[in-house]
Point group: C2
Chain length 428, copies 2
Amino acid sequence: MKFLHLEEQLSREEIKKLQLVRLKSAVARAKKSPFYAKKLKGIEPEDLKSIEDVKLLPFTTKEDLREHYPYGFLTVPKSEFVRLHASSGTTGSPTAILYTENDLNTWADLMARCLFMVGVRKEDVFQNMSGYGLFTGGLGIHYGAERLGCLTIPAGAGNSKRQIKLLKDFAVSVVHIIPSYALHLSTVFEGLGINPKDFNLRIFLIGAEPHTDETRRRIEEIYGVKAFNSYGLSEMNGPGVAFECEYQNGMHIWEDAFLAEIVDPVDLTTLPEGEVGELIMTTLAREGMPLIRYRTKDLTRFLPGECPCGRSHVRIDRITGRADDMIILKGVNIYPMQVEKVLMSMKEVGQNYLIELYKEGHLDQMRVKVEIKDEYFVEDMRVLKALQSKIAKNLREEILITPRVELVEHNSLPKSQGKAIRVIDLRN
Amino acid sequence: MKFLHLEEQLSREEIKKLQLVRLKSAVARAKKSPFYAKKLKGIEPEDLKSIEDVKLLPFTTKEDLREHYPYGFLTVPKSEFVRLHASSGTTGSPTAILYTENDLNTWADLMARCLFMVGVRKEDVFQNMSGYGLFTGGLGIHYGAERLGCLTIPAGAGNSKRQIKLLKDFAVSVVHIIPSYALHLSTVFEGLGINPKDFNLRIFLIGAEPHTDETRRRIEEIYGVKAFNSYGLSEMNGPGVAFECEYQNGMHIWEDAFLAEIVDPVDLTTLPEGEVGELIMTTLAREGMPLIRYRTKDLTRFLPGECPCGRSHVRIDRITGRADDMIILKGVNIYPMQVEKVLMSMKEVGQNYLIELYKEGHLDQMRVKVEIKDEYFVEDMRVLKALQSKIAKNLREEILITPRVELVEHNSLPKSQGKAIRVIDLRN
Ligand SMILES: [Zn+2]
Ligand SMILES: [Zn+2]
């Protein structure tokens, strides 16, 4: 069996046809919610003659979700919902996504399909190192793995020694892990004198934070696995929106469930295929809380060409950052991912780094603290100075300004057990 | 609809018949596992002529689970399992329970039945304040609530201010919470100047740690809810083993799924009905990992008489402690629950206390630190001295020795966000 679901085999033509049908019913359904009843006033499903007519529809933003929290987007009575995930934040306005039983089913199916696509099978033992609870990464992937029939270990985040014990005792073959934690965990393995390659590990599912291909290759090298990039966001259920296939050449978006567009983040016009812009998503299969043209703020592009795996679902490039993450320094736009890309491609650099923005007089400055591997952290100051200069020079080539570089010892920067904090802004 | 499942209406006769059938098949199935193949050698299902013949079967202990970790108890191939829960502990031998898809289904059904019994309905909004992950309290109750169709909020443990925000924003009616955390959370409400009675709260599910009826009444009073005691342990799936009904007069054990006995914890002989002893449990409905006569180490008794709710499933009294928890001090046996019972019945006592055991010369001593409510924590030393003496005297009446009593300010003892630590042993 090559595909888990029939939908994976649709041709581009069939996908577009299905999308139009589903977009129409998504619009009809959305209009049952207080928010869209107003927002979509005057727009009827039959106004959509082709899938390109999605442009006739207005955008939905995170601010809309906040302002109409908690029930403004619901299309059926509250009692029909069986799950709620909410953004954290005790102050400020949170956002919440509510799911009907059908929605949970659809989500679990999409997630199972992702897992199957990268080679996960019923016989696999799957350890989920994602935090459970309100964060969708835990329960989302959990339900998918159980649906596929994997022995699922709900390990949750943190507690590295216990993670390693479970990996060993149950001969775990598949792991869901945040990339920065995968790098951190490797230093715990090191400290214990254990080589993860001696374990039964086969597949890592990584994602939930932007990372570079250099980071992925490192993780694959350390653990002796294939590591697959994934994309999801709680507004679109959570994980299970897009996943790499065995070819690791971009992430297939499940276009039977989501309609994706790439637009200019400033003027919101559709960009030509291949250009980087903001990803816009419409739910095509969500019953209780459909979202129309949701602005993800994530920056990526559609990848051209066909994928050898046989799926014609469009592929997106890895997320290069969030529209919100952009650092403006001395008039130059910089994404943290650019810094990571440079650092992770250098063999001397360890598994952690930190970008600090600060003021020197009135001038904005950037300092990059870089963990150096033990074998390169020598006593000879001249060697260290040379390494420092090399890193600064490589960074300059990528980001066009020269940051201050500080070399720090392996394992000396704050460890992350959740999403890594890569940028600290000390300017205010 | 009064009952969720037909099994709840069985008469005693019918229960005993069903139990015998299921016990036979549990034995037959257990013998497929490496552990029981040996342990039950020479015993055949047909040797069991009546349910009382369960006494012919050997006991199973936590040590057995440890020694045959991780796969010694499995009756089907590992690939048939879809879930694993494990005890924590990075050192020492852990224990693990594995579940097939059928086992998860049975568990969710039992759990939904518990929730329905205390009055939870599809229309309720349910906030689960239990930690998720490897601990069964999170996912166990979660699956039951979703099965019943409640809007389920997987809030997880801790983060009290966020808990309160969710309770408010979603008009939560049902909460699963550890009793000591319920008491702690009330002090957070107090600090915020919010009265939880102004919320939509209706039902609290408490359990996961032994507590007294006095603690329950306090929780009910503070939150304006009915609070239902529950019993479960991961070796018997997790939560959903026994639950109070609307009459709050003991916890019905689901005898179609579990066979319960009470034995003398020392000589392991069956005790007459009504006597307190160790609870012994046999799984009657578990497919992948049946356990025969498992020694729970929990102390309780069967309650006599019929329950007005119409369910004839036997009721157990609240757990008075664990065989392991017993404190031996100056030759007297003391259970921490006895101390709690005394303290929580005194109006001056706040929501937290701590028992410390220490040495004075060669003598074992007990110190009880007791939080006092603000309005009783007056400046007049004579009043405080009198209160101190009163607490010591009340304790003496219950536990037969006079502990040293220390009055401390409201909110000054370490807070618990998980199971409370009530006893600290400083003797070694
Ligand atoms: Zn592909
Ligand atoms: Zn009853």
